[in-house]
């Protein structure tokens, strides 16, 4: 079996098995929830895609963000890549059944040199890869910069992992995942936060980006909100699927996780449940 640190260094950003399908459907739902919650596909530019002809979506999972661009902008060519063959097969099948001739997907490792020429995209996008070891980030952001044309955009979106809420069980489960990520080699110094958010802008600066903007988004998934049901479901899936990862990192026992999971389900059903997700996007222009 692959050791956790080897898995992380291999570029596999998945905490649960991406080939299983359960993680895939969770990502499809999450993608839609987050894109809607953030206000669209490129809200930092008021969803304006003028001047953009080729888009790259790195670690694209089942391809939701890329497929949405391909559908809404038939004139734009969209390429996605991911380390999971299953995710890429799914994304390509989606493009086919929807007749999206301007979308294509390839298996590729974000942590290896990308198989694209220099300056070949107008916009490169990566989001929610905070499981990757801290040491790998400068290298892959450099690769994103290499394949982005001068004047093109590099867009990184991350979130603290990932709920702020009134549910103590949810908060505890959150902290266990962060601790597990820390054990795996994340940015966190203390195990309290993933630690990636303050670094996003600087990562772009280091690869020569200018006009860097940091834009925070607020997604309310409190009881009764439009996003509530989707996030409640996401929590019920993610904290089940990630249990093997947490126990493998030895930050909690299975019995502790079972109790917390049941408690979280109950607490999120309460009418006074409140929750926020606060994703942060850093976007910069390649000089």
């Amino acid at each position: 079996m692959t050791k956790p640190e080897e898995q992380a260094k291999s570029g596999n950003v998945y905490i649960s098995d991406p080939e299983s399908g359960a993680e895939m459907v969770r990502l499809i739902d999450q993608d839609r929830l987050v894109t809607n919650g953030m206000g669209g596909l490129f809200p930092e530019r008021s969803n304006d895609f003028s001047g953009i002809q080729r888009v790259l979506d790195g670690a694209c999972g089942p391809g939701g963000w890329a497929l949405e661009i391909a559908f809404t902008h038939p004139e734009i060519e969209v390429v996605g890549f991911d380390i999971s063959q299953a995710m890429i097969d799914y994304a390509n099948a989606q493009a086919r059944v929807q007749g999206l001739e301007n979308a294509s997907f390839r298996v590729m490792n974000l942590l290896k040199p990308l198989d694209f020429p220099d300056n070949s995209f107008d916009l490169t996008n990566v989001r929610f890869v905070n499981f990757l070891p801290a040491t790998t980030w400068p290298q892959f952001v450099r690769e994103l910069a290499r394949v982005t044309r001068p004047g093109g955009y590099i867009r990184l979106t991350e979130s603290e992992w990932w709920y702020y809420s009134t549910s103590p069980a949810l908060e505890t489960l959150n902290s266990l995942v962060i601790k597990a990520i820390q054990v795996q080699g994340g940015f966190s110094q203390t195990g309290r936060f993933t630690g990636i958010l303050p670094l996003l802008g600087n990562l772009l600066r280091q690869v020569g980006c200018v006009n860097i903007k940091l834009v925070s988004h607020v997604i309310d998934f409190s009881y009764g909100s439009a996003a509530y049901e989707g996030f409640r479901r996401d929590a019920s899936v993610v904290f089940k699927l990630f249990q093997p990862f947490i126990t493998r990192m030895q930050v909690a026992t299975q019995s502790e996780l079972d109790d917390l999971y049941n408690q979280m389900i109950l607490e999120m059903l309460q009418e006074d449940f409140l929750g926020l997700m606060l994703p942060l996007t850093a976007v910069g222009e390649k000089a």
């Binding site: 080939e19 299953a86 989606q94 086919r96 049901e229 899936v237 699927l241 059903l269």
Partner: protein
């Protein structure tokens, strides 16, 4: 004298005289309405993928359009190409079957029903509504048998939609009975399509819900027994032509994999009652979440914790008993 054949441009011109239809077509083809006018006036011609979308958007004129387009664009709408496109559009990709089976083999039991249904519905949404004209898909399942071992109602269990519907329809769930299209399908064990829900004398009863102009449902079956149906609603009339009906049946067969063997019932057991209208049900269902959490807390205190799925089933049984005037269901705790 032989009557001169109408060209596809003339046919399209007559169709888009109706401003609503012009808007609908432009939406379905994802083009500016002016582009349609340019095609009609022979100022420009559609690209290959627009030709396919045009054919799909006008199923009632498909044959006539196809012949005409074929003579003008030749290989772009060649039969082999069309068959291939039709295969892609109305057959579930093999990659997807692999994905569903793999998921079923590996998923934790507690997530099996919801994650498998979700996976299948997401795919079905994309394939049944590639142009995003608006559809809603719901997995409708039989309520457990009542004391007399009969199935008296169905419940909407998990739903997904494209605009104007919300993407997640789970909170809109209600019970359905003999008066509904779903009820009819489950009772008869075969697909039924209602192509125009606005017609008073429609062939099959169905809820004419918000945005819904046509609907089709296919039974979810195993070994001749039924567990519910896959209910699909569209914002368009006449949306469910034969290839789409077959596709819905294929998706219903896939959804069957999400159910347990014990969830399937002999059709002789299906004796659905009439359930109250949606508005009445909504009043009852307003306290659903509260009752759900109370049920789970009570069960946990008694040392028999329930999964959310089990708790939901119990609360729905109580609603069913109240709505149909059945003897009060045991709380099962």
């Amino acid at each position: 004298m032989q009557q001169e054949e109408i060209t596809w441009r003339e046919l399209l011109g007559s169709i888009i005289q109706d401003p609503q239809e012009r808007r609908r077509l432009a939406n379905e083809l994802n083009i500016n309405p002016v582009t349609l006018t340019r095609w009609v006036n022979n100022e420009s011609s559609p690209r290959p993928h627009s030709i396919q979308r045009l054919l799909n958007a006008l199923p009632q004129h498909r044959k006539a359009l196809q012949d005409q387009l074929q003579s003008e664009f030749g290989s772009l709408v060649a039969e082999s190409e069309d068959t291939l496109t039709e295969d892609l559009q109305f057959k579930i990709p093999s990659e997807f079957y692999t994905r569903v089976l793999r998921t079923r083999a590996t998923i934790p039991q507690v997530l099996r029903f919801s994650s498998l249904c979700d996976l299948i519905l997401q795919q079905a949404l994309e394939q049944l509504d590639p142009n995003r004209a608006g559809i809603a898909i719901t997995v409708v399942r039989c309520m457990p048998p009542t004391a007399d071992k009969k199935i008296r109602s169905l419940r909407e269990s998990l739903g997904r939609g494209t605009p104007p519907w919300e993407s997640n329809l789970d909170q809109q769930a209600i019970l359905l009975g003999a008066e509904s299209l779903a009820g009819n399908v489950v009772s008869l064990g075969r697909l039924i399509a209602n192509q125009n829900l606005s017609e008073k004398q429609s062939l099959s009863p169905g809820y004419h819900g918000q945005y819904e102009e046509s609907a089709a449902a296919a039974p979810i079956m195993l070994e001749g027994k039924v567990s519910g149906c896959l209910l699909v609603s569209s914002t368009q009339t006449d949306y469910f032509h034969q290839p789409r009906q077959s596709l819905i049946e294929s998706y219903a067969d896939l959804v069957a994999l999400a159910f347990e063997a014990g969830d399937f019932y002999d059709t002789a057991q299906i004796e659905l009652g009439l359930v109250p209208f949606q508005d009445v049900q909504k009043l009852y269902l307003s306290g659903f979440r509260q009752r759900l959490s109370e049920t789970m807390i009570k069960a946990a205190k008694n040392g028999h914790p329930l999964s959310i799925f089990e708790a939901e089933q119990i609360v729905w049984q109580k609603f069913e008993a109240e709505l149909l005037g059945l003897p009060h269901a045991k709380d099962g705790i």
